[in-house]
Amino acid sequence: MNEVSYIGEHLWVGQIGHFCVILSFVAALLSAVSYFLSVKNRKNATAVGWSVIGRNAFYLHGLTLFTLIGLIFFAMYNHYYEYSYVFDHVSEDLPLKYILSAFWEGQEGSFMLWMFWHVVLGVILIRKEKTLEAPMLFVFAVAEVILMSMLLGIHLPWGDDAIRIGSNPTTLLRQINEAPIFANADYLSLIKGRGMNPLLQNYWMTIHPPTLFLGFASTIVPFAYAFAGLWLNDHKEWLKKSLTWSLFSAGILGTGILMGSLWAYVALSFGGYWAWDPVENASLVPWITLVAGIHVHLVSKNTGYATRSVYFFYLISFVLILYSTFLTRSGVLGDTSAHAFTEMGLEWQLIFLVLFFFLTGMGLLIYRFKTIKNPEKEEELASREFWMFIGSLVLLFSGILIISSTSLPVFNKIMTYFNPAYEGRVIKDVIGHYNKYQLWIAVFIAVLSGFSLFMRYGAALWPQQKKKFTQRMVISIGISAVLTYLTSLWLEYYSWQFVVMSFTGLFSMVSNLDYIISVVKGNLRVAWSAIAHLGFGMMMIGMLASGLNQKAISTNPFVFKGMFTDEDVKKYVQLIKGKPLFSQGYLITYLSDTLIDRERRYDINFKKLNDSMEVVEEITLHPNAMYSNDFSKVAAFNPDTKHYLTKDIFSCVVSLPPALSSVEDAKKIEDSLKFTTYVLSPNDTIQVGGYTIKASEITFAPTHKEYVKHEHDAGIGVQLSITDPQEDTTYLVEAALGMEGALMYNYPAAIETAGLRVKLAQNTLDDFFTPDDQLEYKEFTIKSNGYIDFEGYRLQLTGFDKEPQHPNYTKQDKDIAIAASINVSGQGMAEDASPIYIIRDNQPMSIKSYSGKSGLHIRFSNIDPVKEEFSFKIAKDKRKTNDISVDIATDVPRTDYLILQATIFPGINLFWGGSILMMLGLFLAAYERYIKNKK
């Protein structure tokens, strides 16, 4: 291959970047080895020395990683498209505010984000953690080695193929693509970036990934603590230190997951906040096991029971995070998930990542299992720890169920290794399958979280406390029963199962509220567990209300019922622009739409009517359609939601007419139209497809709404009135043609309801205008108040303008420009014209003026300052006809409608409020522990 020396590349960015990748990898490796040796020699004097090396190597790893991130940013900010990662994620038109999102849109970027948080957390631990630094940072460093290897981009020969290790973010575009364009040394000036997926261009993409990845990264801390405890065979110390971290980790991971579901709800067209999508499940399960871990952690701290479970839960939570990464990034989910990354050939590396931590963690736990002691005596049935342990087991059970079902594609894949003919299994009804079990688990959890706080560790003073406990429970049960009845007036519970759910959720709320008020007396510093439990109960009620009782307002009353049993398939409705539709107590009107950049924004008006058909409430929502970066088709529909305290009204366009959805379809439709040409004289009437069409007047200054948005050298339009005799309606429209330079633009008139399209025939402009070089100009010279008679018209000079304005004239510095004001009249018409005379660089020039009605072309050709005389060149169009020919197509598909989904989610704020309370409880607890540990 010929070496081409390329122009304009910034190779130094990639060279330093690549160097950083390798150095960072090596530094992490050195750090891991040093920390390992430090722990191994912990009884010797060399331990400190190894730790120092490990620490500094970790710092170096962090420094080079941050430099790498900085360089990639720099390349993205400056649009260095020679880099494949930049080319894939950035484009000219990408607003600067999305540059962060573009950075972590791809796999490499999100790995870097993850490592970034690991480094931040690792450095905090180096600073804070004195005794367990070496074994913990060993875990961090190993994780960083494996994660960094995902960015190495090394190809190792392996038989006929090459094994690829990692994907380097500094790879050049021309290294991975073979395209003829790279034969051009200046290819950079010819390419533009692909840019970001329009679906992701919103602020959620800016805040959700960093939060979620901080959540992911933070789960390594409890893992590392547990690992250190096992390694050093000290099952006490780490338990004291790690609770703050676990609480923080659960809080931030939960927040990240919630943000994802809030994003799905408000900005994506899912029409819900949880869909049991594999990607959602994979991040939920580690959160569940982490929460279970926190509960047994509290048990272990307070009573000494369940330490083995603490180890198990903390180890498995991080492994499950790694497993979720494998699921989402390896491509194994295939078509079962809506939002997995695309395949990148990193499967084996990802499997190694999961297995490494799973096997070393669990191996160590089994190895040390016997040395972890439990108290001799069994837990009391009436003790808090017993029920907390049961609760953790229920959570574990929930997690196992979810992850097993989610792993079905993995199971299928494994089976096909053994039996290539194996037919993959799928879940028939995904949401139903998960809900069926998880809702019952929620019932258990709600009951447990409702009464367990009223019990004491070690069943202390149970005989005396028993009566009070029973009393409180009876009161809570009583209140919850009443509340269940009251909510049944608001919500419909379709079967007894929902009544049970509602009751247990309310029970959890009531008894925890009781606990906050009467036991801890409103002291929020110790009420965090009750706050989190209260949140859980509230979330359950929110799920019942918004999930079970959501109501589609966009049900088309005209679709005959009973044809199909599944209720939720009837949640879409067609709206025609300007035609109100009455459905489910709402009058819905598609008012208008506007195209702003790549976004088509709709105005949909909802009027809520009462029984006497009076408007009691009115809102306008603005769902939109986002076109792809090249504008070839709709890339995404974004919903718009009006939030009330007690409900949300959600609206989303789900489908558009083909002509608006894709350029290809629009062209197909355009090509399929059959136009027939009609010749019309002004005020002539013709009959087309049952409509009466009358041409009113020819104009040379069209007012067509698209025409006026552009500048033209010349234009022609015709007013048409189209009458529908059946509806007794007349539409007034205009069809126009515009010319700019050598290009002709057609502005047809469309009558949507009649399915008619009318355009001026291409030859209309030729018929009326004569090109300049075919005109026969005649020159006239007159005084300042003179006039010219030409072909039956009188041209009266009325004045001059020394600051002429004309679309084709841009004033330059030394220009002398004068426009003549001329009134053209005759043959029953009168019109003003203003030709311009310009002297630029001592050269005379002129800009002609065209009088459409008379067909006169007027040039201001000379000024004689001595004689005070002015010369004009005038010519007349050689008009072939005064008739106008129009092309008319009938049966044109309409483009003035949309398909809408509109849903009411009652009580959805209970769901959000409850979830937020849960996270708040976790963060409050983490903060309390932090303060306590400081003292």
Partner: protein, 132 residues
Amino acid sequence: MNKNIIIALILIVAGILVFINASKDVSTYANFEQATNGDRVKIVGQLAKDKPMTYDPQNNPNEFAFFMKDDKGVEKKVVLHQPKPQDFEMSEQIVVTGELEGDVFNASEILMKCPSKYKDEEIAVKEQEGKI
């Protein structure tokens, strides 16, 4: 008896019951022939591009009909009770969930596998700017 053993036993029994129960939620992809017993099934297939598709939103926006060929080559009419999905014609593979009634498959859910939008795209070349 030890409480923990009782709990473990309860959990194991519950676990087995749930798994037996849950395994009924799972099935392989069916084809049209297997769907004749009227069960709710998932069928994988391809769009029969030579047959007509009908979608008339003015009449019923929740009904879109097309012909699908399953992996055994059997072709049947599918009525999807939803608006016509975007990029439907571009789909390489379709998975529909629903029931066969007579000769028509009534589908309430659809999943499409489309060629990745960004993968095989040519390197876009800037449009020539300016006029001649």
